[in-house]
Symmetry: C2
Subunit: 236 residues, 2 copies
């Protein structure tokens, strides 16, 4: 039973993948442009482009429009926990950039997650999280305002769990999370320097204090090609 030959775009993707894994194309180096690749292989630009899009979806390369396409770094192993700690554990330098921070009237989803009652407010903030300067995730976090007076006046950089522990005596001991793969929308893709509709991992999570109180609700949107998640679970 003769198998049909693989389509051209997959053969080209395999060639490039081998060159990346073999070290001929090293981290950060530029791939040939779509036009050059097409010409040198005798295919149309759309076919060369298709091959590169496969590698992009696999996380091997990333676009830096309109400068070119470059070989990506290997993935960061992450656990559900402190972003700063997890990145540092991999030997990379964690970083963050505050996008916004404000007091809000919570939406229904946030109210329920934090078990808020009456007219309780929340302190909300969004940060871009980086590793060695590269965008990894957009983190949107909500804390009960009653539990965190004056939080918005603090420097919201680094580990928020450390800040909450030192400032308010709130200690994170347990987290509950949901992970799903989504396509990045226009705004998120731009912030993460990713391609529109590239795969992202949306982590929706709640963090609990020693006494079982949920003190944090967060939605973290990761570039799927930059991380892998490690989890432990009691089963049976």
């Amino acid at each position: 039973m003769p198998t049909r030959p693989a389509p051209a775009y997959l053969r080209i993707a395999s060639q490039l993948r081998d060159q990346i894994e073999g070290g001929e194309l090293s981290t950060g180096s530029a791939l040939p442009s779509e036009r050059d690749l097409a010409e040198s292989l005798g295919v149309s630009r759309m076919t060369a482009r298709h091959a590169i899009m496969v590698l992009e979806s696999e996380g091997y390369v990333y676009r830096h429009t309109p400068r070119g396409t470059f070989v990506a770094s290997p993935r960061l192993p992450m656990r559900i926990g402190s972003f700063s700690d997890e990145v540092a554990r991999s030997g990379a330098e964690p970083g963050d950039e505050l996008l916004w921070a404000e007091a809000q009237t919570p939406t229904q989803a946030v109210r329920e997650a934090l078990a808020l009652r009456g007219r309780a407010k929340v302190h909300a903030m969004q940060r871009l999280r980086t590793a060695d300067g590269a965008a990894v995730a957009i983190e949107t976090t909500y804390f009960p305002a009653a539990l965190t007076p004056g939080l918005l006046a603090e420097p919201l950089t680094g580990s928020l769990w450390s800040l909450l522990r030192d400032r308010y005596g709130v200690v994170a001991v347990h987290a509950s999370a949901s992970l799903e793969v989504v396509a990045l929308d226009e705004v998120s893709a731009r912030r993460l320097a990713a391609r529109l509709a590239a795969p992202g991992i949306l982590v929706t999570r709640r963090t609990f204090d020693r006494d079982g109180t949920c003190f944090e609700f967060a939605r973290d949107l990761y570039r799927a090609d930059r991380v892998e998640f490690r989890v432990d679970a009691q089963v049976g």
Copy 2:
């Protein structure tokens, strides 16, 4: 600051997404063909196709080549645990199809995961896991042969954990897993009835007995558009 209009393929994707979320296009119903969509909207087929590929990567629709494109079901909420139990918890019917089962000399990765010594063999098997008849995951599982004599002669259907408990007294109490997003290769994509290079979630996991012995190593490859994962973690 006037913003540029969104590209045509994104506007078309949004239109279709709204129709799906609004119920005008219900689960299982067919989308217009790429050619029909292109003609009715006055764009080229490649542009209509691009829009549908966005929805496919978001999990809203799936292809059933060459029959057409159809509206997908909502995602299954999964935890690290028994596939059968998790699917049943959602009210769907779990199913499986045995792809192969055999005794093997373990690879280095399997040997290390199961902490095997000397010339210890493993019982290996691969199953397609389904929910209401739809392919959800390909599960490749390894058990120490010494722990599971005669396993390959058993009917390898349903929950393997139940089988191991009843037959060998091995009880799953803890699991450790890694989740990463990958692109589906040709074989996996075909088995999962997914598009080549569509996003998959590779779950690499180890399961432990009451006494802390690792008795199972598995690689589960999920269609990313069919599931979401829920996890709990001790942190700090």
